[in-house]
Symmetry: C2
């Protein structure tokens, strides 16, 4: 197990009565005015926003609102949010939704007390040292942003989607009621589960040595997700399945399953190859759901890199699917590793996720644009499990069509 630092200070308040605790938790921390950030009409229609406001009202916490945050949240909205926060003198952020809404709120929170433009943080021109407190009401479990140190924002003007990370942007509070996810459509549910599994896999396949506790936790989370997702899809009101997905999604990304898998205590576990490959898809077409993009590019990435260390895929296949090579021959090992990747992809497809980039309406002719964006975000070579250059990435994208 490599050296690591694990710091997940978020207070998670989970269950049927979670949202009712909101106003009390904010007022006892002396917050006076929250900027509520949300996405589309579902927060209104579902009644969640109403419950949030009732809890704030009951505890004397004022609020301002900013709705309409789109999936793959965009820089212009962040800038508008920063303006609104400053003019309305809010002292904390209250995103109500999923990863897009939370990440938009995070960028507002660390951009608010910075004199330059908030994109500087994503461009490497500024470092996050200050951040307003963030309390999350999670209604779309997927991105794990409610407990994570990361934030991803799109910049349409330059067709870019970039991420930043800092412990200081981890939410201080997260309110999580699985019942608020009963109304999630199957596609969003499946894309969310795919994203969670990807968060675990990015860390699992980090190219580092053993981390016995972490590997066991990682496999048990994925097994729980694979068991629970079909139940939630069959019966959207299955509380146990919805609760398992919601909580697993948090633990998939608060860095618990990265402990000991980074190259040192100062770095983050994993090369995040699949996320990098996927971010370029959403960058050129923001309508592509992040998890759905991952369902296609992750198996493609795995097939391209598996030979760099098949034993890692054997361990994964054994602990997640119970797959064992017939014998120790290279051929059997390769077959078992290949079966492992196939099983994972078939699971994504069984939930209704796409298998090919064609299903997004993309053409192979866009690959060069994807590669240009990738190089801008990640440099000429990226990846931890196996270093990938432009032509490697081309081969992966190509194989995903």
């Amino acid at each position: 197990m490599n050296d690591f630092t694990f710091f997940s200070p978020t207070k998670f308040i989970f269950g049927r009565e979670a949202i009712d605790a909101l106003g009390g938790e904010l007022s006892k921390r002396f917050f006076r005015k929250a900027l509520i950030v949300y996405g589309g009409a579902s927060a209104v229609k579902s009644g969640v926003l109403k419950r949030v406001k009732e809890s704030l009202d009951a505890n004397g916490v004022a609020y301002e609102e900013m709705g309409g945050v789109r999936p793959n949240p965009e820089l212009q909205q962040v800038r508008a949010g920063i303006e609104l926060l400053r003019s309305s003198k809010c002292d904390c952020l209250l995103p109500v939704g999923g990863g897009s809404v939370i990440d938009c709120a995070k960028a507002i929170a660390f951009g608010a007390d910075y004199d330059g433009d908030v994109w500087d943080f994503f461009d490497g021109k500024a470092k996050i040292t200050k951040c307003l407190p963030i309390a999350v009401v999670l209604t779309l479990p997927a991105a794990g942003s409610e407990g994570s140190a990361s934030c991803v924002i799109s910049n349409d003007a330059i067709s870019a989607k970039r991420g930043v990370g800092a412990d200081i942007i981890r939410p201080i509070l997260a309110f999580m009621d699985p019942e608020t996810t009963f109304s999630l459509p199957p596609y969003q549910t499946a894309a969310g589960v795919t994203d969670m599994i990807a968060h675990i896999c990015e860390r699992y396949f980090s190219g580092q040595g053993p981390a016995l506790v972490t590997d066991a936790l990682a496999a048990s989370l994925i097994r729980t997700l694979i068991a629970s997702a079909p139940k939630a899809l069959a019966d959207p009101r299955d509380y146990e399945a919805r609760a398992a997905i919601m909580w697993a999604g948090t633990l998939a990304h608060n860095d618990l399953v990265g402990c000991g898998r980074a190259s040192s205590a100062k770095t983050r576990a994993g090369g995040w190859e699949s996320h990098a490959l996927e971010h370029e898809l959403s960058a050129i077409d923001p309508k592509i759901t992040h998890g759905a993009g991952l369902a296609v590019v992750m198996p493609a990435w795995m097939r391209y890199v598996v030979d760099a260390d098949p034993s890692r895929f054997i361990a994964f296949g054994r602990d997640v699917f119970g797959i064992a090579p017939a014998d120790s021959s290279d051929e059997s090992v390769k077959a078992a590793a290949s079966e492992t990747i196939n099983r994972l992809q078939e699971f994504f497809v069984s939930m209704g996720m796409p298998r090919s980039l064609k299903e997004f309406g993309l053409e192979e002719s866009s690959i060069d644009q994807l590669l240009d964006g990738l190089e801008k975000s990640k440099g000429k070579v990226f990846g931890a499990f196996k270093p990938l250059g432009r032509e490697d990435a081309r081969a992966i994208y190509k194989s995903a069509f």
Copy 2:
């Protein structure tokens, strides 16, 4: 999954360079003087104390020292520590050792700013509302106190051993270097692993319904401990095994494996029956190592309560040991549940733990004294998996001889 609150704000700094980070982490939080608390000569002999002081010196953090904290730390030492802390004007606690040392430091930390006697907190006469910051250097993984909200202190004058709990007493920092545990004797190693498994089991057998994620994590931690302990016993310098044990011990008790297993978000998961039964053993003989006591009373407790819900033991046996009932008949279920308990006890014994209370030199004639103490600590009836009265507890103690 029942409602829960999960809050584990400790920053864990883990690995070969963990202790060197100590002084820097304290000084950047503006601490000026630490009260170092430690136990016997091993902290000196191992060189850990020297490394701690070097790191403090290098970062301009002064310190005061209090050594000689005994296993099952005693109230008099806590009182002396509070005096020393006040007179030396320390602003943080720095326990170097295991659960006993950490718990002694915790009691000093929350007793320091209280006008009455610190035992009031253990006697239900006072509530913990203030606590000095605690940074831990863990060298004896077992109790999980480095990440926990709990603190257990003995009061020899009244032969009592009592616990308190509050989120505010969770350490803010924990420095964990598995190499510092290379010198741990086999008995301490085995007792530590037993304590960790007990922390998981107390929550697993909480008498509450399903908590899919939590149950999967719990089983995976126990499997990792069962796989790693024999390796650490065979080769005390096996870094991966020592690291797995150390990190699993933290996660066994920071409440991660309690999420959704308590009756409500406001209560703690589990009835802590085995701990209650064991605390009375150490109360009448402080030389009894907590983990060794648990190795005897936990299987005895399990055999006494298994019929209240054999299905829970079946799930445990399946996920931890791969045990399956031959068929669904009551007889097969009982046999599989019984095999599960036997396997767990045999694992403890295989590590060198005792099987019977006789091995501690105790006599059945002490049972009434144990029961008197138990009633004082826990009341007339206690337990979450199955309520236990005085005669139930008598039967369990009797069966453990």
